[in-house]
Symmetry: D2
Subunit: 151 residues, 4 copies
């Protein structure tokens, strides 16, 4: 993840709200870091639903699937037990065979954790990179208010 | 789980050792209770390996699988971060279509958690109860030092 | 857990809705059993909130805390990825120093998992059983539509 | 994480072995990605133990603690249920107030996941960055075979 400024919240059209569970909090009283990636995953699922995509069924029907190949996170502040969080999700970049998403975890106006996940579209059987299905790209572009970068 | 006395440790032939992870400890500084069922599951896998059974492959090859249908636990004391625990496992009872296992979690000589899990043997496709494969019963009986109850 | 019939759904006043996460589903395509205890824990927190109790702060302020001492579950059917579940929660029995709760997990009208959790009220420092604070009992009794058994 | 070549295995002096648990595997039959960060955390604990440091007690005694502020991962291949993995851990860089570690997850000779974690040393109360205790640096430098970069 670049050291540059984080993406402003206004660039995110979508956010999924969730509440921190007891099971997710460590002895320091804060959310154990790997759980933010679980939140990002939940956010991704809900983003797809909001965009009108039945994930993963729609991709499976097209014979492909998304595999996460890279992740990066900056932990700026900590969530605590019972906090209500907003997991903002956006498609930041669309490549030929890959998608880069940003999942930002907020408590009220405070950005706690900034996550980037890169997915590669691959054949379900071959597990080789294949072009992202045009229907998926269309849906995402139609859903986003800030156009994803194209690569 | 009956209110009777717990099974004595001498009845267990097998134990799997593990160390409490940071991710398993809650803000009270103790292992979050559902994680003891994860330990029991790990113990079950290692018991099967020690008994010479490749689980779940051997069952799958016979067209069946084990489904846990009931669980019970008594939480007597708490494990803490970095504790070394022993998960003792035994087959307590063998029924026609079911198996009852005990998984007891110890720290040194202290019994922390006593778990009972009941599995039903079912067809992988039908998911209907079927007799436990005789080969599985033979392996278990040969492995145990204290003969499981028969029902 | 007794082998008797499960509690009818009408006895539950409260239910918390949640959706199965990818991280909670195992290679069989069903929710890994220990996660139902996580759902029960989430349900308990939300029950307390709905009953007007700030848990655990209110108990801590009174110098006590609830420790789960026993758990039992019957797994009747399996939840799958993305299922919407209702975790119904009720106080089934109030003892002098203990509370017994039922957490039943439903998908639509189907009871998937029936859980019982027994909590003991204990001093935060002493960790010895102490009478359940009357204010907690009053809140629970006022909230329930089906009066909890008294022991 | 830079796009450059991963660190060669020979640069790692230390590795912790673990086996993939059923609870860590997702419906695709592969380890759910956030669990690799749990493995990295377990590896970090065991690295500290091997280096002769009682973590976190030694740091707490000095009034400080390590907070993870950034994480990056490249997922190159997938671990499966029951795989035996080696989590190789090394201190890659020592800064004035921060430490950068690499945790690489191998199955036999294959690098599956390359993780980088950056920790900041902070006052336990203040949570403000403070110089890494010299005793911690000495221990790490003495333990590593490949000298960490100094920044």
């Amino acid at each position: 993840m670049s050291k540059a400024e984080p993406t402003p919240r206004s660039a995110f059209r979508f956010a999924h709200r969730l509440r921190v569970r007891w099971s997710e909090v460590d002895p320091q009283g804060i959310v154990f870091n790997p759980n933010y990636f679980v939140y990002a995953d939940v956010g991704f699922t809900e983003y797809m639903r909001a965009a009108g995509l039945a994930y993963p069924q729609d991709l499976h029907a097209a014979g492909s699937d998304l595999f996460s190949v890279a992740a990066a996170a900056q932990f700026r502040d900590s969530a605590r037990y019972d906090d209500e969080l907003a997991v903002a999700v956006r498609a930041a970049e669309i490549g030929r065979t890959s998608l880069r998403f940003e999942m930002y975890v907020y408590r009220d106006d405070a950005l706690l954790v900034a996550i980037e996940l890169t997915y590669v579209n691959a054949g379900r059987e071959s597990r080789r990179a294949e072009p992202v299905p045009p229907a998926l790209i269309e849906r995402i572009v139609a859903f986003e208010q800030t156009a994803p970068a194209r690569r």
